[in-house]
Symmetry: D2
Subunit: 354 residues, 4 copies
């Protein structure tokens, strides 16, 4: 099979690096184009990047020249790993030029005609993209994945919402420093410390969660009708966001029913998406798990790992959920979105509607 | 003024060390007796202890000989910093021998006739001690301070309970490793990691909080009627517990009213207790505070430091509270209890009832 | 090919866990027997172990029952990962019972008839094992690998010794906490801290380095005649020992010659040992490498990673070397020794000399 | 006594903050002027600074307005905490305008007519300042203190050089992140990691050490004739540089003689400089000390703390030295220089030579 040629916008950042790592030897996609900020443009990627992953930078990628961040030279499938401000400016240009823009940025996630998607959760929201003006005019479009702190939570909640209904959600996060990119969090701020604040993070978690768990009706997403309150904290962990969660359900559920809901949640089974984990939600029965250092790589970094399920004295149940913030929470999320789009035929050269 | 002679049970542990540090040059108390486990008994304190504080071990304390942990040789005022199992066995022996046992252990905190006290919060529960059989028989008694994770929370909640009433409390903690003593948490478990579990901690936080905020009626404490749910996590921080809190009030309160309640909360004003902080609750307006590394030493480690007050989308308000877990949360708490007992005349040689 | 059946002594410790991880799907060896301390004996391995690696414990291993640490039930090839005191007592029993004991312990490393071996460095010392009384009497023997701090250093030095001769070595280490096992280093000792002391470590580094670089003559190892001084420090790193090294050579060497010596050092090429890294010494040209977090997994954790080669104002050259302390420095080292022994026919059922 | 009015150049940086902290309630100096980068100029200090110390920002300092970094409005005594590039441009302007510039920057340390001084070590180099053109023309001058990594080393070496002579010095550092300022080292680079490189640091340590231990002859400093080689590493520690040192002496010395040399080293005794530690070199006999977390605040952060004195198998002796990098290694060093200059009458309004 010939692989789709793809480009990466924001290729030198932490998420860009993860895209490169995850796309190395990907059966469906081939990286042919890398773009970054103006000051990197024209350089060899290997010279421009500060590679921060613990697998070596692939040699052929290191040799690639960084292109200007304009659609002219770009392929028609773009993974975008841009800061929000830049995404707001650049992503529409690529969509307008006919590109399928699979974005990790927060810039357009809440826009009404932009799908915000986790394939296991709400792949059925993807048809929204057909409503985009870009789609109608050039065939291009924009699809987004959620914030790194929302994605693990929503995976854990989805099967519970399906079976029991969700009424209220409390979540308090302990987020890894890689979520802030590079250079990101200064070491003086986080060594032996906790920072109880991440700009705009609580708002994103709250509104994205409800959109993701919402339903598509009449060409728009009706957010889930539930209450949610998030507390977001930064802790001295390299990778992996850990979250303490309390939930109130609409119907009673036993411990066994909740465990079954998680265990049986395999909505992508049979679709053979290369990046989809066999078990999207892994439950660890040990008292003191999940832990980021030990469990973030479950499902090749794509699983939501849950543990400590126990009754909540305030709501119904409480538990801990962990997910890898730069794999499941960023590059892997976008990649899985792209894989789902591929199976839906949305990555083929699009015919512009007459 | 002649100083009260005091002894320390469990003098070599982390909390025992804090007692020694805080009692150095204390105007009211003088350390004359140190006891520890059998294997340390008879040794010079300086030889038996692994001193882990960043101020030097006082030379005269280093020279003291460690006594057996029996009341025979002990003074009549005992600060107890024992593990719970050992406390359950030893503390009653000292109380029965006529000692005022000011304990940091969890062993008897929830016992009906044992005061569990934070002087700023519920010093009026102290008369409970008169109901103790030990008190009646020997003059001795047992007074306790709360768990290190409960104390900051309860300080922050008390003025809000007084002015607005508390209906529900959600709290998620990020606790320092010193809370587990020494050797305590293995470094392999916590470097770059979060452990979402501390044995029995959530239960203690929940029940102690309600007892502390309860009221003494008919010789027993009626716990506060409110719902509370705690999530307890360990993070790679040396000292200082940080807690994300959401609360539902019985009466509406504005931001200004809450800040005023905290600001004006000085229940010990005028009592001149040496360890009492001038401002028990310090609010920091900056977005990203309190932080353990920067703020745990406010009020010489005795303040509850609050910040990030903002509306809660699920309850009424949310905020972050920080307190130093081995000062305000342990040794300093017991010391302040002792100071309050001293002003009440409860540290004087007691007459055994005829 | 039928795989050799092997046993692991000390299977629940950190190095024992690495053995299990590295032996999973090993083409030559199959784990059939696990032994640990008396208190674990008889338990399911999955119940007895505190698994601390970031890959899941293999299910079939979890089900295995832990055997008593006696040779009666054991297979004839034993990987030993015991504390030194216990090794001193147990390893001779297994060797005397006819077992090939491939040990990671320090107990017998410096004994005259015990090979201390790194396959790339001094595989030619292995014939020493034939001098062991155990070998003569039962066919069993004892082979050891070096201390985790010595192994990276010696790999980096070996090709320089061969080409230029070594006169003097200064080394200062920054060692990971996993080197101390579990629970090992208390977090209160190492969070935000350096401990400039590891018991007996400097002595081991010094004497083992000279034995490893020595030559076998007349049935004994003549240690290298060079001066060496080691400073050993513990730092808050999970895995990977980093070492600052200065060396004085016997013959002058240019930077290019040193780099070539490292680059061309492939003494096991063509032997197809499964655990041998293709490139035992990897040089990284970037100014600020190697770094443990980024580079410890080079060569699947089996490479010595060098960098920062620059002239020394006191000796001739200085550089930094990094190696993974529980893979190349422990379990992987023993495994590679076993693989070399297998190719030499020393793992076959041995005929006891008549 | 009326206090000298002083100004701080670079007041918002990490060292600038330490100046403010250390000068609060200083008996001789009063902060009357703060300058920082252009973007801060005109702002309230409290609004411009990201205060990162664990004591609160003094309220009266918070209210001060930040001045432009020009000498016109400045007092005649300037503490300078500027990055090297900016120092190279700005410090001469202040010296030329008649200011006593007491600088922590590396820009002019090695300039022939600029004293590089540690008061306990080479206060007798201060007369060099009279050779400066600035001094002759305006009365202003420039005095510097050494790099944060050199200062602890040199303090520990000075009494040994005096009594036994130094022939060769090996030093390998483990340096705290605060040495890189703020934001400084990104957390992704240092959490659970070691970075074996700090730009220009080894060169500075080597050349500054020899200048500091040199002697003033014929109006210039003859550097010490000794060989020195430094390895500089960054570790995940907030404050406190730890250094492994091996030394070769010119005359033999016993352990007792070395300990005595350190113990008796009190060159400033009787001078009553407020910032001078009573014991500039503190030796800790415990095996595993000094450690940054426990010992960096010895002598109020102004002591060089030594330990682990033991024979070196390569040179004569080896030991560990620790010093607080932003107190003794930066702001405190400059402050002590200023105090010494004050006692020498060099801070009085200078008469410009006719």
């Amino acid at each position: 099979m010939q692989r789709h040629q793809i480009g990466i916008l924001g290729a030198t950042g932490m998420v860009g690096q993860r895209f490169i790592q995850l796309l190395e030897q990907h059966p469906w996609f081939e990286v042919v184009w890398l773009a970054a900020s103006d000051k990197s443009s024209g350089k060899r990627y290997g010279d421009a990047v500060k590679w921060k992953l613990d697998t070596p930078l692939p040699a052929h990628i290191a040799q690639m020249q960084i292109s200007p961040a304009t659609p002219e030279s770009a392929p028609k499938i773009i993974f975008a790993a841009l800061d929000s401000d830049i995404a707001r400016e650049l992503e529409p240009k690529f969509a307008a030029a006919g590109c399928a823009v699979i974005s990790n940025s927060s810039a357009f996630r809440m826009q009404q005609d932009v799908p915000l998607v986790i394939p296991e959760v709400n792949g059925d929201h993807l048809p929204l993209l057909e409503k985009q003006t870009w789609r109608k005019q050039s065939g291009g479009y924009l699809v987004t994945n959620p914030n790194c702190s929302a994605i693990g939570l929503v995976l854990a909640l989805k099967p519970l919402e399906e079976r029991f209904g969700l009424d209220a959600i409390f979540v308090s996060t302990m987020q890894a420093v890689s979520g802030a990119g590079y250079p990101g969090v200064p070491s003086l701020d986080i060594l032996g410390n906790v920072v109880p604040y991440i700009k705009s993070e609580e708002e994103k978690m709250q509104e994205e969660t409800l959109k993701l768990l919402g339903s598509l009706k009449d060409d728009r997403v009706q957010p889930l009708e539930a209450k949610i309150s998030a507390h977001c904290n930064r802790v001295p962990v390299e990778d992996g966001h850990t979250e303490s969660v309390s939930i109130k359900l609409r119907k009673p559920a036993t411990r066994e029913q909740i465990l079954a809901a998680w265990q049986e949640f395999r909505p992508l089974a049979g679709q053979n998406l290369p990046t989809a984990p066999a078990q999207p939600i892994e439950f660890i029965p040990a008292d003191d798990r999940p832990q980021p250092r030990l469990d973030r790589m479950r499902g090749h970094g794509m699983a939501a790992v849950v543990g400590r399920l126990r009754p909540c004295t305030l709501f119904d149940w409480k538990f801990t959920v962990l997910s890898h913030n730069t794999i499941r929470g960023a590059a892997g999320a976008a990649l899985l979105n792209a894989e789902l789009l591929a199976t839906l035929g949305k990555l083929e050269p699009a015919a512009v509607p007459a």
